[in-house]
C-alpha cells in the first residue's frame, strides 16, 4: 500500500487481498517507535539570570513523545487521553504532517504525513479546539463552498454531504451566519461539519466539546457518531471529557509523559478496575467523605465501621468507579512505575 490511492476507490485492488493485506488495508494509521524531541532554552531566574539568557547557549532536550507505537483501523472512534503536556497534541501534529518525528515511522493512509503533507491533508479533517479554521467573516455556506473548491470535491458529493448534514442536525440557522457572529456551540458545530465536508478518511478532533453546555455536547456527540456510522470515517478524539469517551469511544489510548500507558477497549478498562468502588459517606457536619476502594483488597463494611468510630454517618453511596477515576488510577499507576 505504498501508493496514495483512495482506500475503497473502485478498481484499485485487482486481485482478492490476502488476510494480511486485508488487515493492513484496514490500518489507516500506523505508528512504530515514534519519538519527538524538542530543544528548550534553560531559563534562569532573576535579573542576572535574564542577562545570562541573552547570551546563553544552554539548551536542554525534552522528549515530548517517547517510543510510541500504535495502529488504528478504519472506522474506529478512538479516545485519545492523557494529562496536559503528556504529548497528545504532539502526536496529533505528527499524524497530520505538521511535525516530523525525531525517530520512528508514521504512516497515515499509506502516506508519510510529513513528507506528503499536501496529499495527506486531502484525506484528513482537523478540528483543533478553540481555534476556528473557517473564514471569520464569511457566512458558513461560503466557507463550505470555498472548502469544496479547495478540496476539489465533486458537486454531487458536496450536495449529498449537505443533505446528510441536514438529516443529522438543523443547520439552517447557522448556514448563512458569519462565524464571528456564532456562539461557541455553533462555531464548534460548524468546524466539525467543515472537517467532514470533503469526506476524509480520518478526522482529528481536539477537545471538541470544551466549554459547551450539556445539550450542545449531546448534539455534537450525536453528529460525530452519525457521521462515523454513515461515512465510516475514522475519528481520533482528544478529550478530557469522560462524557465524550463514554458516548463515542470503543477504544482508548492513554498517553502520559510521552509514553503510551494504555491501549485497549473501554470495556476492558472497566474489567481492569472492575472491583473498584467509590464509597461516599455523609458525615454529621454535612460534608461528604469520598474514598476509592478496591474490593479485592479492602472490605467496604470495614471502612464504614472504622469511619463510624470517629463520625456519625448520615448517608452512604456506593458506586461503580467512574471512567474518570479509572483513568486517574492509570495515571497514578504509571507514575509509580
Amino acid at each position: 500500500m505504498q501508493k496514495g490511492t483512495d482506500l475503497g476507490a473502485v478498481g484499485s485492488v485487482p486481485t482478492a487481498p490476502s488476510q494480511e493485506e486485508k488487515s493492513m488495508a484496514n490500518e489507516v494509521i500506523v505508528m512504530k517507535n515514534v519519538s519527538k524531541e524538542f530543544k528548550v532554552l534553560n531559563r534562569h531566574e532573576g535579573l542576572k539570570g535574564s542577562f545570562q539568557d541573552l547570551f546563553s547557549r544552554d539548551y536542554k532536550t525534552v522528549k515530548a513523545v517517547n517510543d510510541v507505537s500504535l495502529t488504528v483501523e478504519k472506522g474506529e472512534i478512538i479516545g485519545y487521553l492523557g494529562p496536559n503536556g503528556a504529548g497528545k497534541s504532539t502526536t496529533i501534529k505528527m499524524m497530520t504532517g505538521v511535525l516530523e518525528p525525531s525517530t520512528g515511522d508514521i504512516q497515515v493512509n499509506g502516506l508519510v504525513p510529513y513528507k506528503d503533507r499536501t496529499r495527506n491533508s486531502e484525506n484528513i479533517g482537523v478540528v483543533f479546539g478553540q481555534r476556528s479554521q473557517l473564514w471569520w467573516n464569511l457566512p458558513l455556506i461560503e466557507s463550505f463552498k470555498l472548502l469544496r473548491d479547495i478540496y476539489m470535491v465533486p458537486e454531487k458529493d458536496y450536495k449529498d454531504m449537505l443533505e446528510l448534514y441536514r438529516s443529522l442536525v438543523d443547520i439552517e440557522p447557522i448556514l448563512h451566519k458569519p462565524v464571528r457572529q456564532m456562539s461557541l456551540g455553533q462555531r464548534t458545530l460548524s468546524d466539525i461539519l467543515a472537517a467532514f465536508l470533503h469526506n476524509p478518511g480520518i478526522v482529528f478532533l481536539d477537545e471538541p466539546t470544551i466549554g459547551l453546555d450539556v445539550s450542545m455536547k449531546a448534539k455534537i456527540r450525536e453528529l460525530i457518531r452519525g457521521l462515523n456510522e454513515v461515512k465510516e470515517t475514522t475519528v481520533i478524539l482528544t478529550t478530557h471529557d469522560m462524557g465524550d469517551v463514554d458516548a463515542l469511544c470503543k477504544r482508548i489510548i492513554i498517553i502520559d509523559e510521552g509514553k503510551k500507558i494504555y491501549d485497549n477497549d473501554i470495556d476492558h478498562l472497566k474489567t481492569y478496575f472492575g472491583s473498584y468502588r467509590t464509597l461516599r459517606m455523609r458525615l454529621e457536619d454535612g460534608s461528604w467523605d469520598e474514598q476509592v476502594i478496591d474490593e479485592k483488597k479492602t472490605d467496604v463494611m470495614h471502612v464504614i465501621q472504622e469511619t463510624q468510630k470517629k463520625h456519625k454517618i448520615k448517608d452512604i453511596q456506593l458506586e461503580e468507579i467512574s471512567t474518570e477515576e479509572v483513568i486517574r488510577k492509570i495515571y497514578e499507576g504509571s507514575k509509580a512505575s
Binding site: 535579573l47 535574564s50 542577562f51 539568557d53 541573552l54
Partner: protein, 270 residues
C-alpha cells in the same frame, strides 16, 4: 506592598521582559544604525546639491544629528499602548485590569517604564555614542545633558498622555490602525521629527509652535544641542516651562478624558 514598592516591582518586571528579547534588542540597535546611514547620505546629498553650508540656521551636521537623535527618541518613546489595549479589550482581559486596585492609567505608565529604561540604555545611549564618534564630538557634553534628561522625561509624559487621549478614540471607533497612523503622522511631522522645524516655512512654523508636539521632540533636542538660545538659562527655562505646562495640561485632560472613556467602554461590554 506600598505604592513605591509596587511601582519598582512593575518597572523591574518590565526590565526583565525586555531583556528576554534576545536578538530583538540587537536588531533595534542595528536598525537604528542603518537608518542613521540613510539619513546621513540623504542629507549629505541634499546639502551638497544646494551648495550652501547652512540653511535656515542648520548646518549639515546639525540636521543629521537632529534627525538621528529624533529617531532614537522615537524608539525610546515607543509605546504599543494602543495595540496592547485593543488586544486586551478583544480578549476581555481588560476587565481584569480595570478591576485592579491601582488605577489602569498609572499601571500602564509604569509597566511600560521598564522597557523605556532598557530602551534608553540599550538603544538611545549607543546611538548617541555612535553619533558622537561619527561627527567627532559635535554634541556638546555638559549641564545640557542633565537638562536633556529632564526634558526627555517630560517628553515621555506628554507622549504618554497623547497616546492615552487617542487610545479611547481607537477603541470606540474600533479602528486601531487608522487613528493611530493619523496620530503618528501628525506627531512626527509637527514635532520636527520628520523634518526639523527650522525648515518649515515661517508662517507654518509659527502655527506649529503653539502645539504640544514640539515639546516631544523639538524641545528636548534643542536643549541637548544647545540651539536657539538654550545654552543660557534665560533661553532654557522658557523651553522647560513650555514642556511643563503641556505636561500638566495634557495629564489633566488625559485623566478627565480617560475617566469618561472608561465608562463608555465598560458600557459597551467589550
Amino acid at each position: 506592598m506600598t505604592g513605591v514598592k509596587r511601582l519598582t516591582a512593575l518597572t523591574r518586571a518590565g526590565v526583565m521582559e525586555s531583556l528576554q528579547f534576545r536578538l530583538g534588542t540587537a536588531v533595534t540597535l542595528f536598525g537604528n544604525l542603518i537608518y542613521l546611514a540613510l539619513v546621513y547620505f540623504l542629507w549629505k546629498a541634499i546639502y551638497d546639491s544646494c551648495g550652501a553650508s547652512e540653511v535656515n540656521g542648520m548646518t549639515f551636521y546639525d540636521t543629521m544629528i537632529y534627525l538621528i537623535l529624533a529617531t532614537a527618541i522615537f524608539n525610546f518613546l515607543e509605546m504599543f499602548i494602543i495595540w496592547d489595549m485593543s488586544r486586551a479589550i478583544q480578549s476581555g482581559e481588560i476587565i481584569m485590569h480595570l478591576l485592579k486596585p491601582m488605577r489602569y492609567r498609572k499601571y500602564t505608565f509604569w509597566s511600560y517604564s521598564g522597557s523605556h529604561v532598557i530602551s534608553f540604555f540599550l538603544t538611545f545611549i549607543p546611538t548617541f555614542i555612535v553619533v558622537m564618534l561619527v561627527t567627532k564630538g559635535a554634541i556638546p557634553i555638559g549641564l545640557n545633558c542633565v537638562f536633556f534628561v529632564v526634558s526627555l522625561v517630560m517628553a515621555l509624559v506628554i507622549n504618554f498622555n497623547i497616546e492615552m487621549l487617542v487610545a479611547p478614540i481607537c477603541l470606540y471607533t474600533e479602528s486601531t490602525w487608522g487613528i493611530n497612523i493619523v496620530k503618528e503622522t501628525i506627531v512626527l511631522l509637527l514635532s520636527g521629527a520628520t523634518i526639523p522645524l527650522a525648515f518649515f516655512p515661517e508662517s507654518f512654523r509659527r502655527v506649529v509652535e503653539y502645539m504640544p508636539f514640539r515639546a516631544v521632540y523639538d524641545i528636548p533636542l534643542k536643549i541637548l544641542l544647545k540651539k536657539d538660545g538654550t545654552n543660557s538659562l534665560e533661553g532654557l527655562l522658557p523651553m522647560l516651562g513650555i514642556q511643563l505646562i503641556w505636561c500638566i495640561v495634557l495629564t489633566i485632560a488625559g485623566n478627565l478624558f480617560w475617566n469618561h472613556a472608561v465608562k463608555r467602554i465598560t458600557v459597551n461590554g467589550g
